[in-house]
Amino acid sequence: MVRLLRFLFFAVLVRLVVLVVLGLNVRRREWLPKAGPALIAANHNSHLDTLVLMSLLPLEMLPRLRPVAAMDYFLGNRLLAWFALHIIGIIPLSRRPQRGSDPLAGCAEALERGDILLLFPEGSRGEPERLARFKTGIAHLTERFPQVPVTPVFLHGLGKALPKGEGLLVPFFCDVFVGEALHWEGDRAGFMAGLERATARLADEGRFPSWD
């Protein structure tokens, strides 16, 4: 029942909003992972980011798609928690893990099952349409699963359509630039630098109008 609800939510409502109300300009969609286990790392400006990324992959992969999202925010109240866990299908991540516990246990479990994880290494939506420093959780995860490819994606425009703190969606065409998959090469700092560089390179592809 919940699985059907999730399917309908993404097949009808999300696709209507993403493809008709918004509209996407996708470059190199074919570079997105075709099977799990895999990681997709995108910049984060809006709640819409997750929905857009999930609608880029075919519907039959929906059961495999798991966005990683902040536990404190999405499990904050019961209704939101139910929606986040069952309809969106998030893997909750603690932003302030307790000593001795493994904050990445949920992600590791999902990768072992062969899921595709969506991560936002900026850690928060932050200032809309500004790229913040990446957090290193993704490097720790990749170190544990060195064979899992990490596909960088740059999103633009969704922060204009629905920025943090706004409830009203204003239509804009949005850009989605997919980069070449990165692989673990032995050290965390090097991996993080490579991921940030790849995302910045994707951002440079676009010519975005000012928005202040």
């Binding site: 204003v170 239509p171 804009f172 109008p209």
Partner: protein, 313 residues
């Protein structure tokens, strides 16, 4: 013919357009076969997009009037969205842009009601006065004039001007004359688009002297004049079928569409040059964005509308 919203001449003309597309597809196919080394990918995707656009347009025209109106409203929405995504906007104006989008359903609702008085003043008067007021209540004054100006220019061009196409469908008395409102729309859209193609073809084959190099370096005098002549000839040929116009008026309409179509094209080119982009978007493979395809219509639609309304309705 009760199950269709259009009369026979409209169907025959649409059939003619499909025949021309078929010839275009076959030609591209033969060209590719003759020289397999050369890449005709751009031309192929351009023709394929024409098939899709003509197909959607034909369906929207043929089924019924309300579907046609929703189709034109959606075209305005896509164009306005492309424009707002392309131009610099202020973060403070998010809600103002939302109100600007709301003008689309309202404007096309006036059309559906055939309420000419409201249709013709809603955006130039009410939207024009309302949006700056909404901006003032938000209170950001930096770049105020630029924002008010660019937002209103978008509404005028992509909603007000384009909605004239839709009003042709509801012109009082149009049903009894010639092929009705759909005949007028088809006449206008077919001539505007074929004018674009004719100017391109004449320019490519004969063009030498540039007509407006600062704005659009590929436009030539030969392209412009050849296009206008072709469009005028086509107008004289099609008008008795699709419109109530006599030959003299048909020739004038052809000149009007040929010349103003060119102007609409270069006005949007100037906008794109100002913004530093080549295409307005990537929605239509081989063509660019919606704005790239309907640029000429933003000029021909209101001008042809008032021409025919003054003379016949």
């Amino acid at each position: 013919m009760n199950w269709l919203a259009v009369k026979l001449p409209v169907l025959v003309t649409l059939g003619g357009i499909f025949a021309v597309l078929l010839i275009a597809s076959l030609t591209v196919h033969l060209l590719q076969r003759r020289s397999p080394g050369k890449s005709y990918g751009e031309l192929r995707s351009r023709v394929r997009s024409w098939w899709v656009m003509v197909g959607v347009f034909s369906l929207a025209m043929v089924l019924n009037r309300n579907i046609s109106l929703v189709f034109f409203a959606f075209m305005s929405f896509l164009a306005l969205k492309e424009y707002f995504s392309l131009i610099p906007t202020r973060r403070a104006d998010r809600r103002v842009l939302f109100w600007a989008y709301l003008a689309i359903p309202l404007q096309y609702y006036w059309v559906a009601q055939a309420w000419y008085g409201m249709f013709i003043i809603f955006i130039p008067v009410y939207a024009f006065l309302f949006l700056p007021m909404r901006m003032v209540t938000i209170g950001e004054t930096r770049d105020f004039l630029k924002a008010a100006g660019t937002i209103h220019w978008g509404l005028m061009t992509l909603v007000f001007s384009l909605s004239h196409l839709a009003f042709l469908l509801v012109l009082p008395g149009a049903e009894d004359k010639a092929a009705g409102g759909p005949g007028l729309v088809l006449f206008l859209v077919l001539l505007t688009e074929s004018n674009d193609v004719a100017q391109y073809v004449w320019g490519k084959s004969l063009g030498r002297r540039k007509i407006i190099p600062k704005v659009s370096p590929n436009k030539t005098w030969a392209g412009f004049l050849g296009g206008v002549a072709t469009t005028t000839a086509l107008a004289v040929g099609l008008a008795p079928w699709l419109t109530p116009m006599d030959l003299e008026h048909a020739a004038m309409a052809g000149l009007l569409i040929g010349i103003s179509g060119f102007v609409g094209d270069v006005v949007v080119s100037a906008l794109k040059r100002d913004l530093g982009v080549k295409d307005s978007g990537a929605l239509i493979p081989g063509h660019g964005g919606v704005l790239d395809r309907i640029d000429s219509l933003t000029y021909t639609a209101p001008l042809f509308f008032h021409f025919i309304r003054y003379l016949y309705f």
